[in-house]
Amino acid sequence: MARFGLRTEAAQGYVMVSPTLIFTVLLLAVPLIAIVVLSFWTQNFMEFDRSVTLANYREAVSDPIYGTLMGRSLWIAGAVTLVTVVLAFPIAYFVSFHVPQERKALWIFLITIPFWTSYLLRVFLWKVILGFNGVLNSSLQGIGIIEEPLTFLLYNANAVVITLAHAYAPFTILPIYVALEKIDRSLLEAARDLGETAWGTFRRVTLPLAMPGVIAATLIVFIPVIGDYVTPRLVGGPNGLMISNMIQTQFLRLNNAPMGAALAVSAMTIVGSMALLLVYLTRNIGRAPK
């Protein structure tokens, strides 16, 4: 009877989740399989040549432009992740440990608001700030710090890193904050009672227990940043373009969807394996040693 009850509950669960699951399979799994298949085809004028070939991948490896763009996307995403996580950790720590309980929700709300305002406009505003006649240059000239406008601010990879770090900042704070909130405060008291300094307690108790949040934050920034299109296009200039700009060019400009698909699949594979590697390497952090 108990087993029967369990089975009905499972069945009810499957029925309940099925509309969302079917939708996601049709609109996510099927399309992802489709671009993997497409990446093994080639473009033959207006038609696809459906014979399976590795030609696109061979081109992706042999033509240096793709390697350059992929390499740049990876280091930009790495730099953005590092900057956002390092800058975000003290904020998450401050809200979790120093803000009174009843004000925490307000702080988190204030931090997340910019995330909900138009991404396109936020990126564009950085172009306005960093540009040749932009806000920063005109202000600095206005108060007489510089004579000529600074030209190294815009249209390079640094501008892309600054803009993306700003755009993804709220995204990193939340997972770290959630991990810090879960820490049992009596563990910290115990560490202090047993003779650890404040810094020692932070390093040996708080930080390891916060690591799951830091890892989640890393993934939640690194993966989408690799595929960012708007920021490199608006503030990157020719030397700040990333892999997604090339994917867009292949699909919409050069009319070579299979090549674009091969680049998209390559990017996903590289990012996916890096993410899995990170999760694997850090799987024991924050757990008690056996």
């Binding site: 989740v17 939708f23 996510l28 399309p31 709300f109 608001i113 138009s118 505003l125 299109y229």
Partner: protein
């Protein structure tokens, strides 16, 4: 001591987060065609100009239709998934829920090109509907995150009591569960509406001949003389987002209060 240093840092950080957005109204009301300091004078001309651009109104109309339908679809799908994950135990639940949440981290360009490939291969033409499908896919995980916290706080004995007193499963859901999670549902509607209204990449790839508002803005960004008008438009859009998100946050808190939960902060 360290608390004070952290507080100063936190305030500086908030200033950094808000600074770019605060520039929008500054230049929207500035009487000059160049977006730079020093400012020239106060004008509302750029806002007045917004009224006289038919292409903009068309894009706004498309965006509102897309955002409304997306909000309803993704919230409905979110209710199913959140209810399933909080009320029932079934084998493979973690995997299934993880899979449904994937669009949250997947780069949007991947979602966009893969949907584009399938739609074109099926011989379907791009329209408002293709954008709606793409937006529903990326909004559903956000809805699930919000709704899960509404559903997870519910006391199961309330529902069981209703059934013992003669209600069916469906009517117990409608009469007992639904009123308790209504704030969460409205919050999910508002959030997904906001995401859809702002989303650019998927709309850019899937829009066909009916541009959304962000796609229209994108097309205007390369004309310097159009920028003050875009600043005015952006100011209005950000005000709208703030109102929507502020209402969603208030509802979320009220919902938590109603079902007697502690506020853990934030939507996600």
């Amino acid at each position: 001591m360290s608390g004070r240093v952290l507080r100063i840092y936190a305030i500086l950080y908030l200033v950094f987060l808000y600074l770019p957005v605060l520039l929008l109204p500054v230049f929207a009301f500035n009487d000059g065609t160049i977006i730079a300091f020093p400012l020239n004078g106060f004008t509302t001309a750029w806002f007045a100009e917004l009224v006289a651009i038919p292409a903009l109104h068309e894009a706004l109309g498309n965006s509102l239709i897309i955002a409304t339908v997306t909000a309803m679809l993704s919230t409905t799908l979110g209710v199913f998934a959140a209810r399933a994950s909080t009320r029932f135990q079934f084998p493979g639940k973690a995997g299934i829920m993880g899979f449904i949440m994937v669009p949250l981290v997947l780069p949007e360009i991947i979602v966009a090109v893969s949907l584009l490939v399938v739609l074109l291969q099926l011989g379907l033409s791009l329209s408002i509907w293709s954008v709606i499908l793409g937006h529903t896919l990326i909004c559903t995980p956000f809805c699930i995150a919000i709704l899960s916290s509404s559903f997870s706080g519910l006391d199961r004995s309330l529902e069981e009591a209703a059934i013992d007193l003669g209600e069916t499963r469906l009517s117990a859901f409608r009469l007992v569960i639904l009123p308790l999670v209504t704030p969460g549902i409205i919050a999910a509607l508002l959030i997904s509406f906001t995401i859809s209204l702002d989303e650019f990449i998927i709309a850019f790839f899937l829009t066909g001949t009916e541009p959304t508002l962000p796609v229209y803005i994108w097309s205007q960004l390369r004309f310097p003389q159009k920028l003050p008008v875009i600043m005015a438009l952006g100011t209005l859009l950000i005000l709208l987002s703030l109102i929507l998100i502020g209402s969603a946050e208030m509802l979320r808190r009220r919902g938590l209060h109603k079902s007697g939960q502690k506020d853990a902060g934030g939507f996600l």
